[in-house]
């Protein structure tokens, strides 16, 4: 393909310094095409949120060390600073959070919070920004939007707040939307509505979307592509259909077995026995080896290779290398 990818991670490494060093991301390679919707799956602590935050450079600068390349729409995100970084945040790339009740400022109205974002990025007047806010609330289908504009976050229901958060995130027409478990905090019925809304707006605005979820059912429902993370790296990526029908990595298989077949929808990804490794050292072998029933000496002695199963379907596992 000759199109510039919307997002390109090149060998991304993230370490947190502190009492203990945490190797949160270890050499991640991933790209996203414009208009594509990618679901990021993985257990708690696998580095999904950290990956999203690097795209906005939201990690605490003093305590985190980043290496490798991050490009959004050709822009080198790693080298952004000051004004350019502030323009990037919320302008080109915006984010919606798991808990809209916490991510919205409790003492400003929803309208004010959307409007200030628009004023900040588009340099328009306050009343023009309020018009945009109203339009956005209408687009996310909040009933009686004029009235809701003047609501404080605590005056709305959880689903309504997340709609407002989406309206805020999309108000400056970003090319890339990041959604960190956007529906986890919501009731099951509201979850589906919000996801369908996101999908619809994504297609309407032609945005790329990366969303984090613990729910494979959700990933299947709305995503074009799935990326499975484990201990700070990708273990498998591919089109949603490929990954679901033909999972290759033992971890992905475990996840699917535990969650798809006869399992309750909405269950979290924790049904594989064992626990992920501590991230104290950079990995020098397959991180999944301790929990993998196929593990051999080769898995424990070197990093497993990344194998192309088919066009877009890649697996990081020794088994696949042997099959080829």
């Amino acid at each position: 393909m000759s199109v510039t990818p919307l997002v390109e991670f090149e060998n991304l490494t993230v370490r947190f310094r502190g009492e203990r060093t945490v190797h949160a991301i270890n050499g991640l390679n991933l790209s996203l095409q414009p208009g594509e919707m990618l679901a990021l799956l993985g257990e708690s602590g696998s580095g999904k949120s950290v990956t999203l935050k690097t795209l906005l450079r939201l990690l605490p600068p003093r305590r985190s060390e980043l290496e490798g390349g991050i490009r959004v729409n050709g822009t080198d995100v790693m080298s952004l600073s000051g004004q350019a970084l502030a323009n990037h945040r919320g302008g080109d790339v915006s984010m919606i959070f798991q808990e809209p009740a916490l991510a919205l400022d409790p003492v400003y109205t929803v309208g004010e919070q959307i409007a200030e974002t628009v004023m900040r990025h588009k340099g328009v007047s306050r009343s023009a920004a309020m018009d945009v806010a109203l339009d956005m609330l209408t687009r996310v289908r909040i009933p009686s939007p004029e009235r809701r504009l003047k609501n404080y976050p605590h005056e709305m229901s959880g689903g309504m707040r997340q709609r407002a958060m989406i309206a805020l995130a999309l108000s400056c027409r970003p090319k890339l939307l990041l959604a960190d478990e956007p529906t986890t905090a919501l009731d099951a019925t509201v979850q589906i509505q919000i996801l369908l809304l996101l999908r619809e707006l994504q297609q309407e605005f032609g945005m790329g979307v990366i969303f984090v979820t613990h729910d494979i059912g959700v990933a299947v429902e709305v995503s074009d592509r799935i990326a499975v993370m484990y201990a700070g790296n990708l273990v498998e990526t591919g089109s949603t259909a490929d990954v679901i029908k033909d999972p290759r990595h033992p971890y992905t298989k475990g996840l699917l077995a535990a969650n798809l077949h006869g399992a309750v929808k909405g269950q979290r990804l924790d049904a594989i026995p064992g626990s992920p490794p501590a991230l104290e050292r950079a990995p020098d072998a397959c991180s999944f080896a301790e929990r993998c029933s196929h593990a051999t000496d080769r898995c424990r002695s070197a990093l497993p290779p990344v194998v192309n199963v088919s066009g877009q379907h890649q697996v990081t596992c020794v088994l696949e290398a042997e099959n080829v």
Partner: protein, 317 residues
């Protein structure tokens, strides 16, 4: 908002009545006969009885209360046993002096406390924070009358820069905004400001530190807001609580500090109260306590209403 105000005012009424009953009873329950302080030691039984009935002290308590409160609402708090002057007049002039001291101390304390607290909260867990916190704790823990005495020794006795006693040439009745009077205000108000500086700084530090670690701050950065905008959000979140802390501190200051006013011979309500206690001046004591207690009640009311006005999270309906 208006309905809220009315409702709060209605609530205040029973509180005020309760406060007045407590003021009245406290003074009566306290041991000691108020007459002993003013009667000659060799006064006869008859003379004592005459005095008692002159001040209405021979009537049953509920009747005494009814008479007292009935007059009090018309502004008549009786006459001081010790000086014979109307209590209302004494209290009025003392409260005016205490207010002067309290407002001056607040004007010194609040900006400093807010600024220190904000800086410490902003730089939480750094050396700056520890320095500010240490100062704040010292300010709160050092007994302020002792500090007052140290100030007197240093600035009045040794350096001779500032006076140590009284409210200036006009005496307790006349205040004027000229240097001759203001120099009398400096030491007591600075001394009085130390504790509120510490309390406001510590509260604001914890508040601002907590707000900075809240998710919405990261969300503000995530949508590209500049540092100044984020500070505006943080300040607006901190404002209601900071305001209520300052309101309560102002309430304490308005009550007049018995110790500070005694150290500096400042003719305020604290000073008056201590005189009333030592002289067992019953009407003066009751009147002073009543006025101060009602002050607290109104202060709380004002703080609550102001907080509701600026904090959308407080339900007003």
């Amino acid at each position: 908002m208006f309905a809220y105000l009315i409702r709060r005012l209605v609530y205040v009424l029973p509180v005020a009545i309760g406060v007045s009953i407590i003021c009245f009873l406290l003074v009566h329950i306290a041991p000691g006969d108020p007459l002993t302080a003013i009667m000659p030691v060799d006064a006869t039984q008859e003379e004592q009885a005459a005095m008692r009935s002159a001040y209405g002290l021979d009537k049953p308590l509920p009747v005494q209360y009814a008479i007292w409160i009935g007059k009090a609402v018309t502004g008549d708090l009786g006459k001081s046993i010790a000086t014979g002057r109307p209590v209302a007049q004494e209290v009025f002039s003392a409260v005016k002096n205490s207010l002067l001291l309290a407002f001056t101390a607040s004007v010194i304390a609040f900006p400093i406390g807010l600024l220190l607290g904000f800086i410490a909260g902003y730089y939480r867990d750094t050396i700056i924070d520890r320095l500010v916190t240490a100062c704040a704790i010292t300010g709160v823990s050092v007994p302020n009358y002792w500090l007052g005495i140290v100030f007197v020794i240093v600035f009045s006795v040794q350096l001779g820069w500032l006076p140590s006693m009284g409210a200036g040439p006009g005496g307790s009745g006349q205040w004027a905004w000229d240097y001759a009077h203001i120099r009398h205000l400096i030491l007591p108000s600075v001394t009085l400001a130390v504790v509120p500086i510490g309390i406001v700084a510590r509260t604001v530090r914890a508040l601002v530190g907590d707000i900075f670690s809240m998710d919405f701050v990261q969300a503000l950065y995530a949508k590209g807001m500049r540092h100044g905008d984020v500070l505006r959000h943080v300040i607006r979140n901190a404002a209601p609580t900071a305001l209520s802390v300052m309101g309560l501190q102002l309430g304490y200051l308005l009550g007049g500090s018995i110790l500070i006013e005694t150290v500096f011979n400042w003719p305020g309500s604290g000073f008056l109260l201590s005189n009333a206690i030592f002289q067992r001046d019953l009407p003066l004591l009751q009147g002073t306590i009543l006025v101060l207690a009602l002050f607290f009640v109104s202060m709380n009311l004002i703080v609550d209403v102001a907080q509701a006005a600026i904090d959308p999270r407080i339900k007003r309906s």
